[in-house]
Amino acid sequence: MPILDFLYKPKNELEKGGRAVAPIQADANEPEKTCPNCHKAIPLSRIWANFNTCTCGYHFRMSARQRITFITDKGTFSEMFKEVTSQDPLRFDGYKQKLETVRAASNEEEAVICGTAVIGGVKCMLFVMEPNFMMGSMGSAVGERITRAFEYATEHRLPVVGYTVSGGARMQEGLISLMQMAKTSGAVKRHSDAGLFYLTVLTDPTTGGVTASFAMEGDIILAEPGATVGFAGARVIEQTTRKTLPKGFQKAEFLLEHGFADAISPRRYQKSLVSMLLKMHCGGDEL
């Protein structure tokens, strides 16, 4: 793919290339999903073939494993820190049971998956948050995994690519979860001070304590189209201020407009963009 392809908007169906948009004929009995944007029922296979987006451009939420498959070079992801799992530091009423239920339902141990990977030929540390695990909330295990990822990347001089999706801090871990904001920020700062590259991709939704820590600390910040990104929740703001929120408030486009994201990155072109940015931060030939 030529280098600037991801900036190029196809003008017609043919120009969109062979991979996406309706190459797959769905059979009649196939399950469908209704797009919340265009309200059309789309066969699942077509959504999957389009990187979990609708033909109208709507980006569905995506599990961490699915993202890892689509962003990394085939077979290069090697998971780390799997042994780090949530404790119940406050013995918070009902938290242990909640964790068990969520683990069974999501098939994941925690709300973030970390590991080394190769993306477009460049080795990096990758972390991807999981929306199906308590909406990617940050407890001690999420904080610990991310901190370890940055410490490992600093030690081995690797760039970090991070996909964020989070409802914020995990309140069942109280102050210990709040402290993860400082802990992860410290690790990001050390990685940054070592002259290493950190790229964040903000996905829907990224809010609260994650926005107010490692999500916003990237050297380059990308956001997926339509993603909601903010510190305070929109409903809370509306209730507190009794003001109607402007259209598109806290959406990726709003972020770009107000200077908090470098670019909006549609999934279809995301891997080539991430690869290019990684390559650009690996140095080059002496002039």
Partner: protein
């Protein structure tokens, strides 16, 4: 279950309590307030400036709630906007340059929740403070004097030592917020307060703070004199510590660490 924790929350929020300004007046001399973040505005919820701690120049930063209704409105009830955090960071960087220790007084229900705050990057402003405070090359002490509301409080509490007044609280979310999210019922705030372990005693047990400051003789002049001596003694130790920044990193690194 007793309503002990929620009673503390009430005390921490009560309007009769000392605010940031009272602590500045009580402890320091020649406080000179510095205004503005040099980017956008001056945030009235955060007061910052230079002062003497006996004979030592220090940088003081305090979240100020105000004493009466009018002041509280003007200071947004001590809920800082991004420019408040950016002002604080500017003053901290200045302190680093002139080798002054930084002392913060924290009292907020949380960072301001509003359209403008989001437009100006509330999340980023807090995130930047967390990063920069972690490597700020000068001693930092934070004292939680009333409410320590979530990220908005943490943004001034990435410190070498964190103290809490006996009736202060420190929490990731307000008990009301927690109750309404978990149980869809904000009237269960008292139960949530118990679960959240947000009192000074709990925070000490969790290792989040170093010391609980007794409020026994709060009305007496000895109260501030005692605090002054404590700060001086602590700063003497911190100033000489060649591993200050490593220790600060490890102080926070320890929370939720697994081997």
């Amino acid at each position: 279950m007793s309503t002990g924790a929620y009673e503390t929350v009430r005390k921490a929020r009560s309007s009769g309590r000392y605010t940031g300004i009272d602590f500045i007046k009580g402890i320091f001399n020649h406080f000179f307030e510095l205004h503005g973040d040099r980017r956008f505005a001056d945030d009235s919820a955060i007061i910052g400036g230079v002062a003497y701690l006996d004979n030592t120049p220090v940088t003081v930063i305090a979240i100020e709630k105000g004493h009466n209704a009018r002041e509280r409105m003007q200071r947004l009830f001590g809920a800082p906007n991004p420019e408040g955090y950016r002002k604080a960071l500017r003053l901290m960087k200045q302190a680093e340059k002139f080798h002054r220790p930084v002392i913060c007084f924290v009292d907020t229900s949380g960072a301001y929740c509003g359209i403008g705050a989001e437009e100006r990057g509330q999340g980023l402003a807090i995130a930047e403070n967390l990063c920069e405070m972690m490597t700020l090359n000068t001693p930092v002490i934070s004292v939680l004097i009333g409410e320590g509301g979530s990220g908005g409080a943490l943004a001034l509490s990435v410190a070498d030592r964190v103290y809490m007044l006996e009736n202060a609280v420190y929490s990731v979310i307000s008990p009301e917020g927690c109750a309404s999210i978990l149980w869809k019922d904000s009237t269960k705030a008292a139960e949530a307060a118990e679960c959240l372990k947000l009192t000074a005693k709990d925070a000490l047990k969790l290792g989040v703070i170093e010391e609980v400051i007794s409020e026994d003789n709060m009305e007496q002049p000895e109260f501030f004199a005692g605090l002054r001596e404590k700060l001086k003694a602590e700063l003497r130790v911190l100033r000489k510590d060649p591993q200050l920044l490593d220790k600060r990193y490890n102080r926070f690194r320890a929370f939720g660490r697994t081997e």
